[in-house]
Symmetry: C2
Subunit: 262 residues, 2 copies
Amino acid sequence: MSEFDDATRVSADGAAAIHDGWDINGNANGGYLLALAASRLRAVSGSPDPLSVTGHYLAPGTPGPVQIDATTVKSGRRFNTVTGQMHRDGKPILQATGVFGDLSQMTDDFTHIVGGPPEMPPMDECVPRSPVQGVAHVALNGRLNVRLRPGDESFMRGERKGDAEMAGWFSFADGRPVDTLALLLACDAFPPAVFHIDLPPGWVPTLEYTVHVRAVPAPGPVRCVFRTHFVQGGFFNEDGEVWDSQDRLVAQSRQLGLTPLG
Amino acid sequence: MSEFDDATRVSADGAAAIHDGWDINGNANGGYLLALAASRLRAVSGSPDPLSVTGHYLAPGTPGPVQIDATTVKSGRRFNTVTGQMHRDGKPILQATGVFGDLSQMTDDFTHIVGGPPEMPPMDECVPRSPVQGVAHVALNGRLNVRLRPGDESFMRGERKGDAEMAGWFSFADGRPVDTLALLLACDAFPPAVFHIDLPPGWVPTLEYTVHVRAVPAPGPVRCVFRTHFVQGGFFNEDGEVWDSQDRLVAQSRQLGLTPLG
């Protein structure tokens, strides 16, 4: 079983565990937490694909057992909506709601696309991330093969580009395919784009995170780009796009974060 | 009492009503429904401002009584997260989750803004919307003063600009100020941006709709712009921005809709 499948396994009664090794300095990555919750919601929905999943983060997730409750609020002909909560010892960690369906059954007659995949060199010419990142221990990077667009790693040297954009390649270290569930992780697996502007460095907690899965990814690594256009009042947005090997948009994401000042 | 305050009134036990006159062809506008649900969630939160609210639409909302249940899932020092459901006779209409706080208490030391308000003439030189819109009866337009950027109304004559962008001014017809709750309505109160591309016209149902409220609006009408960059597989996104009279971003929105083909 792949590491990601193992780490997002949920039993029929909602028992699961936050696995070790998907964290930054001991706190589980938010995308991993949403994927874990969505794994349970998806099972309850009976549909193969998350179409849109929203998570509200309530407490940091540390390794160990959790319970993920899930309730179907609407079963439709094509879409099923499920809401739920991940909690431990009565303490809520993540509130999640998603709509699930079967992307392979959606029509595709009309397309209108503005923009395209981020320009960058082939994956092996991009800059690998490693678990040791300065003062941070990003264990997550050991599970993934994330490679940044050359230049985008400059924040590691204390150099900021000035525009809050971060791009790169994403795949799993163990070769597991990137499926629609994995896109919930991919959209939160990169260093924050705000690391490239003159904010004081530090932990940037997420209040809300939504991923729209727009297509089933074709085989191969995906290209991701994240942009922050609005930092004010202690909050920032980060908008993500994920593109597959066929140059098709497979996910859009947005999160509302708190600046280190916020 | 203003029309909007009356239409978003919820009693302490969650009893409320979808009011007449906020609809398109008899179905309540999705932004109004989210504002109505958020009115209840906000009351339960005890905080003045919705910071991020997500709604999942389960059934069309027709005028009449509804019950809005709401449960606090996390009470924090600064933020309170509440989840709930609007339903009628046991049938769910809208699932909503939001995080609430006090925007007046947020720091504002660091700003990074890419872009700005949409360029357009003063409000009185823009094109008013009216309740009678071709074959559609947009009763909502009688409650609002929505004026489109000249040219953006061309879809009414069957002329499509080719780029899916719609902009204009928003205020209430009765002069009620645009507050943070009203921004949840504003971000869904315009004709869909996809009316300007060659999709067959028709009802475009929303699966998911999230609004991030980024600041308390200064007095006066707000300027709104909505863009759709990705239509494929029967789905489209619509991203909105709302700017106040001080040229400050006050809200960002995104919704996942179904095309008339989808």
